[in-house]
């Protein structure tokens, strides 16, 4: 098992290197580089200033040289400095990463607590009114983009009831309730959009599992329906559902970027968005590297969960 984890962790390295090249190059391909933006903001545009600024930022060297310097520094834990604020990227990440992690975790909890019970219910009551209602609801959640729903949640309650979701971020360890009040709304929106696919998958898999021979064996033993579902069917049905959750991890992070923007959550998403607008190369590449690593780690955790669910993997 340990050898397996180690192997998987080693396999992460080439993937991350590949990601880093793409990210490093693509942010520099966006028209209008950081020097242009800085010069435009300061309203001075002479040829000499530009060269001086490029040299000061270290952008005068060839791109491959910049890349190798950057990647070598990262292996030593140095993510570089923001081109605009001159703050350490690593330090900024250490502040924003836990916030996004919290949002993602809350959204995942919301998604699972909604999707799995409803999926099971829907399967047990196949083709009844309850099944149709929950299936339609999940289709609706799948169809509505969370940024649109987020905007509605911002606008309509304030018009109708003079209430708006709180937008003041407080760290969790200072004021847990205030923190959760703020995070809950984006977490629910993000969670609901994730729950749609998970719910449908749970329903489909549960129906599939309930048709299996071993469920008939369980019935022949005289077990009640709820024991059949929870003891005999659920774990079998969760194996593919867990895979799906792993595959949704990028969606989770992508959704967080947008919702952090709407609900002013000072997480990695907000940091990334600002950095992209400002062409703050070290910040953008740093964030993407962490995002990439997170997705790989999530999928490793998913693989380890199989071992818990499926004895065939364990042995």
């Amino acid at each position: 098992m340990q050898a397996f984890i180690l192997r998987r962790l080693l396999a992460v390295i080439p993937t991350l290197l590949f990601t880093s090249v793409i990210v490093f190059a693509s942010i520099r391909l966006i028209p209008g580089d950081v020097v242009d933006l800085m010069l435009a903001q300061n309203d001075i545009s002479t040829g000499t200033d530009r060269a001086v600024l490029e040299a000061a930022l270290g952008l005068d060297k060839p791109i491959y040289e910049q890349y190798f310097v950057w990647i070598l520094n990262i292996t030593q834990g140095d993510f570089g400095y923001s081109l605009w604020q001159n703050t350490s990227v690593a330090e900024q990440l250490s502040l924003t990463l836990p916030i996004t992690f919290e949002l993602g975790l809350l959204a995942l909890i919301v998604a699972l607590t909604v999707a799995i019970p409803i999926g099971i219910y829907s399967a047990m009551k196949q083709d009844t009114v309850g099944d149709y209602v929950t299936r339609s609801f999940s289709l609706l959640m799948l169809a509505i983009p969370s940024f649109w729903l987020g905007t509605l949640v911002m606008v309509f309650p304030s018009v109708w009831w003079r209430w708006a979701p709180p937008l003041q971020y407080t760290p969790f360890f200072e004021d847990p309730i205030g923190n959760l009040m703020h995070m809950m709304v984006p977490a629910v929106l993000l969670g609901l959009s994730l729950s749609a696919v998970t719910m449908r998958m749970t329903r489909t898999m549960m129906l599939e599992v309930l048709r299996q021979d071993y469920i008939r064996t369980a019935r022949a033993k005289g077990l009640k329906e709820n024991l059949i579902v929870f003891r005999h069917a659920l774990r079998n049905c969760l194996i593919p559902v867990v895979t799906l959750i792993g595959l949704q991890a990028p969606l989770l992070i992508g959704g967080a970027v947008i919702l952090e923007q709407i609900f002013v959550v000072p997480g990695m998403g907000l940091m990334l968005l600002e950095a992209v607008f400002q062409r703050d190369y070290p910040v953008v590449t740093g964030v993407f590297l962490v995002v990439g690593l997170s997705i790989l780690v999530i999928n490793l955790v998913v693989d380890l969960t199989y071992g818990f669910l499926d004895p065939k993997v364990r042995h």
């Binding site: 064996t217 019935r219 005289g222």
Partner: protein, 322 residues
């Protein structure tokens, strides 16, 4: 004669299919005394598995009992409540399925699965039920039984899994065990072992056994009584000995003649019954066997022959050909 343990009278079952309702069983009647072994023989689609499944109400959503009764110890199982039926399932009537590979839950330990009926019906604690499960596994001759309780089905071979299924069926010392082609999916070499084990253990418990099979050799060795089914009806019932010596229905006769014989003429062709087994959604009129029957006459196409006694403990559904 002994008070019968199970009496199926005039049972009719239909299935909802895409092509409408199909009559899977049409007036099936069977009787089984305590301690007896009844073999139900027939081709696939003859209704033998449906008969077995309907005893425990395991037909699923598509199947429906349309008429008749299944009396088990004085209770009509087609009319008892779902809760009562659950008390009987696994406790008084146990089932052994055809596919040992897929009939055990892949994510639960063997111990849990064998102990479960004891926990459920005998209201034992899990540790006690596990201890009994260990004894049961030893009884079905699984080596190192106690150590294997924590193992999962994929760690067992097909034959071993069927032993586990037998242990599970015996767990609550049921009055009746129904085995639906328990050896069809197994290697020929283990088939005899499994059947002997099943037979011996049911005898030890004094339980009755319904053995569903298409293998006439199995019938001869293990059954006391035989019911031959064709097209959703019982066409002949007799004691196993009687049926072999003196088959009285043309279909049974055809089956017997189809068994290859060691003392037969080496060059001769094997006897076959001409034609195809009938399609249940489109059964021939009258006796379902008449299109394949060498003795069919006019009466056979007009109405269904009833099951009538032709000798003591020997019944057939045929208008006669002798």
């Amino acid at each position: 004669m002994m008070e019968p343990l199970l009496t199926i009278s005039d049972l009719s079952v239909t299935f909802a299919t895409e092509r409408g309702r199909v009559q899977a069983l049409d007036g099936v009647s069977l009787e089984l005394a305590a301690g007896e072994t009844l073999a139900i023989v027939g081709e696939s689609g003859s209704g033998k598995s449906v008969t077995a499944l309907s005893i425990l109400g395991l037909l699923g959503d598509a199947g429906q009992v349309k008429g008749g009764s299944i009396e088990f110890q004085g209770e009509d199982l087609t009319r008892v409540s779902a809760a009562r039926l659950r008390e009987i399932r696994g406790n008084q009537i146990a089932f052994i399925f055809q596919e040992p590979m897929s009939s055990l839950n892949p994510v639960l330990t063997i111990g849990t699965q064998v102990a479960e009926p004891i926990w459920l019906h005998h209201k034992k604690s899990w540790p006690e039920a596990f201890a009994e499960a260990g004894e049961l596994l030893a009884k079905v001759a699984i080596p190192d039984a106690a150590q294997r309780l924590e193992d999962y089905p994929h760690q067992f071979s097909g034959g071993m899994r069927q032993r586990v299924m037998i242990a599970m069926a015996l767990a609550c010392q049921p009055k009746l065990i129904i085995a639906d082609e328990p050896t069809t999916a197994l290697d020929v070499t283990v088939q005899a072992q499994i059947l002997s084990l099943l037979k011996n253990l049911t005898k030890e418990l004094g339980s009755s056994l319904i053995l569903i099979t298409h293998d006439l050799g199995v019938v001869a060795r293990y059954a006391d009584k035989v019911a031959v089914m064709y097209g959703g009806r019982v066409v002949e019932t007799a004691s196993a000995l009687d049926l072999y010596k003196n088959p009285r229905h043309p279909y049974t006769k055809g089956l017997m003649d189809s068994i290859p014989k060691l003392d037969g003429d080496p060059g001769s062709r094997l006897h076959t019954i001409e034609g195809q087994p009938p399609d249940l959604s489109d059964l021939p009129s009258g006796c379902a066997f008449h299109p394949r029957c060498p003795y069919a006459h006019e009466a056979c196409t007009a109405s269904k022959p009833p099951l009538t006694a032709i000798a003591t403990n020997h019944q057939r559904a045929c208008f006669g050909y002798e």
